[in-house]
């Protein structure tokens, strides 16, 4: 089996071969092939949005995706949540010496395919190799550049009491999919990661952009943490309805098994939308037209308050939804 060698990162013949035989074969942007020190982009009309994110997911392959796909989705979704249309991506790999080249290729293909599927060009890249043991297989950093959509005015300052909170699909899939293959807690599950780029989904609701106030992808910390951030920055409360919160039965079951709350599990293909109450039902219907929004639900609303998140339970009780402290750890108590 061929493996990544330290020499692949030294800038010499090995490095050139890796670029030519692997990266250039799968990334098609013409600028990239010229192997210049900097990619020159055509001029972009409008304001720019830039975001960067590093991906260290353990394990790199999980049900429903891999670190390559994830590194595109994460950055694309951050641009979308920022009200921008994603255009370009740069990709930086840190590889551990000894990583099988076959595995690297699967990840690169997955990354390239995902970028292509959402219309984003990979325009620049870099590779470094660190000695065995100094990294865990590989890490990927992507930087995304997008054009700010002039039709959108997003931000906590636009959110008003009475606005509806919509979740684009069931919560917690990615968290359970990744936890299921962790050492020590391993179990088999039908749950697959929801990892997906959401630019197209959000584009489908463009007729309702004037009613859209706030967008955020609930990744780490899940829906619970993301809504706490909203409540705090808007200085308003959010009231969720437990019976409306979409969670797949198998995710709920696995979360129970591990002593975790789906509200705090990470998602990689979901968006929380705050929209004017009058448009909520129409936005939900529009989201449901798209395969990635089929199970979208209005999960609650913004209310006057002081920056807290609440949940009305199925029995009609009201309890707080706190900011989580630390990573969700499987527990038995």
């Amino acid at each position: 089996m061929k493996r990544v060698l330290l020499a692949h990162g030294d800038g010499g013949l090995y490095a050139a071969a890796l670029i030519k035989d692997l990266f250039l074969r799968h990334f098609s942007y013409p600028e990239l092939g010229k192997l210049k020190d900097a990619a020159l982009l055509s001029s972009i009309d409008g304001r720019l949005a830039v975001t960067t994110d590093s991906f260290v997911v353990q394990p790199p392959f999980f049900p429903g995706g891999d670190i390559g796909k994830l590194s595109v989705c994460g950055t694309v979704n951050d641009l979308v949540a920022g009200g921008a249309q994603p255009l370009y991506l740069t990709v930086s790999f840190i590889l551990e010496e000894g990583l099988p080249l076959e595995e690297l290729e699967v990840i690169v293909v997955s990354l390239a395919d995902t970028a292509r599927s959402c219309g984003v060009e990979v325009v620049a890249g870099d590779t470094k190799v660190v000695p065995r043991g100094q990294a865990d297989k590989l890490y990927i950093t992507t930087t995304g550049i997008g054009r700010v959509d002039p039709r959108l005015a997003l931000g906590a300052e636009h959110v008003r009491s009475g606005d509806a909170v919509i979740l684009s699909g069931p919560a917690g899939d990615h968290g359970i999919a990744v936890l299921s293959c962790r050492k020590g807690v391993s179990f088999q599950t039908q749950v697959v990661s929801d990892c997906a780029p959401l630019n197209e989904l959000i584009e489908t609701i463009s007729p309702y952009f004037p009613a859209l106030r706030w967008l955020r992808d609930p990744t780490r910390g899940g829906v619970g943490a993301t809504l706490n951030e909203l409540a705090e920055s808007a200085a308003l409360d959010v009231m969720l309805e437990e019976k409306l919160l979409p969670v797949r039965p198998e995710v709920r079951a696995a979360a129970e098994l591990l002593g975790l709350d789906p509200l705090y599990l990470p998602n990689e293909g979901k968006m929380i939308l705050v929209v004017e109450q009058e448009a909520a039902v129409a936005v939900r219907a529009a989201l449901r037209e798209h395969p990635l929004g089929r199970e979208a639900e209005i999960i609650g609303q913004v209310e006057r308050g002081t920056g807290n998140v609440w949940l009305r339970t199925v029995l009609g009780g009201t309890r707080g939804v706190e900011m989580p402290a630390g990573l969700p750890l499987p527990r038995i108590c």
Partner: protein, 362 residues
């Protein structure tokens, strides 16, 4: 999530209870998983003026400071330390397992002690210690792991046992002045020890109690059963979780526990020493006993933070909301006591779900 039938039953029970409940009564949920569930289901405000008080059934919360220190010290010995996620962030006198991990300790979160056994088999040259915290529900898995370690000659597998048993704690709780009108008994401990073993709660102390499951419907059923006994003045110990709990419990599990463990006096936070409430490995399993194999600190430098009232919380004397430190100086990231640290600790549950912050919308 509740099935449709269960939801209907839960609503029916809630209505019954509300109708019957006139004065303030105090019922203790002994088990920490109950505490968390009750808060998470939003039941406390719904059931007012009923006061639901937390009890000693949170294994991490009642673990003595010296035991926490010794478990954290184990992580510094170079051994692989396997444990449940529950323990990772709990602070000892000076540090936590999470800190120790950042400093290079090899800590593995597992779902079962039997997974730790597999780690021992994979790493024959390194000692593997399982940190054994829990009650009768969890103890059988640890007993089985130790027994299998001996059978499979995995001499590098060790258990550090802080295991405790619930019955002596109930005696300690009820023998002292308490002001409790009823108890909700732990359903999963009861699946091992059986309902009958807890009859003394009513027969000896005159306190009505129910063995209770963990869903919304199950908890309301238990409360309704206890309220009925209070109203009738006929204390008993009712099995409100009959599809899981038997009269005699699981005899094989009890036999296994007796085969592997001796009982010994154990220190409980909030209660002090309780006779025969700890489970320690029998001498024939001494070669797997981490307490004997490793050189561990004998005393803790940890002093209970003077104003911390975890002890009162664990005895049901106060609600976390009555503690002046709660949500003020004692917070999830800077906890002053174990009830705020453990994910099923009463203070952590109240902080997450029941804290009065601003005004809850109607």
């Amino acid at each position: 999530m509740l099935s449709g039938t269960e939801l209907a039953q839960a609503q029916q029970l809630l209505a019954l209870i509300k109708k019957k409940l006139t004065g303030p009564l105090s019922i203790m949920e002994v088990c920490g998983t109950h505490t968390t569930a009750i808060s998470k289901y939003g039941l406390r405000p719904l059931l007012e003026p009923l006061r639901l008080l937390s009890g000693p059934g949170c294994p991490v919360c009642v673990t003595a400071a010296v035991d926490l220190d010794r478990m954290i010290a184990l992580a510094g010995t170079g051994a692989i330390v396997a444990t449940f996620g529950d323990l990772l962030r709990v602070p000892g006198s000076e540090t936590s397992l999470e800190q120790a991990q950042a400093e290079g300790a090899d800590i593995r979160i597992v779902y079962s002690p039997l997974d730790a056994l597999a780690i021992a088999a994979d790493n024959p040259k390194r000692p593997v210690v399982f940190l054994g915290v829990g009650f009768e529900t969890t103890a059988p898995a640890m007993a089985l792991a130790v027994k299998q370690a001996r059978e499979r000659d995995l001499s590098n597998f060790y258990l550090y046992s802080c295991l405790k048993t619930v019955v002596p704690a109930l005696h300690a709780l009820l023998a002292a002045p308490h002001g409790l009108d009823g108890l909700l008994l732990p359903g999963h401990v009861s699946s091992v020890i059986g309902r009958r073993a807890q009859d003394f709660v009513a027969s000896l102390y005159g306190v009505p109690a129910a063995v209770v499951g963990f869903g919304e419907r199950d908890i309301l059923l238990g409360i309704a059963a206890v309220l009925r006994m209070i109203e009738e003045g006929t204390p008993g110990v009712v099995n409100a979780y009959p599809h899981v709990v038997r009269e005699e419990g699981n005899l094989l599990a009890q036999k296994l526990l007796a085969e592997v463990f001796d009982t010994a006096a154990a220190e409980w936070r909030g209660f002090g020493m309780i006779p025969e409430s700890g489970l320690v490995l029998k001498t024939e399993f001494a070669s797997h006993d981490a307490a004997l194999h490793f050189d561990l600190p004998h005393a803790s430098v940890l002093r209970e933070q003077d104003p911390c009232r975890c002890g009162d919380v664990l005895r049901g004397a106060i609600s976390p909301l009555d503690c002046a430190l709660f949500a003020d100086r004692c917070l999830p990231l800077t906890p002053l006591g174990p009830c705020m640290v453990s994910s099923e600790g009463a203070c952590a549950a109240y902080y997450r779900y029941d804290r009065k912050k601003g005004v809850a919308p109607a």
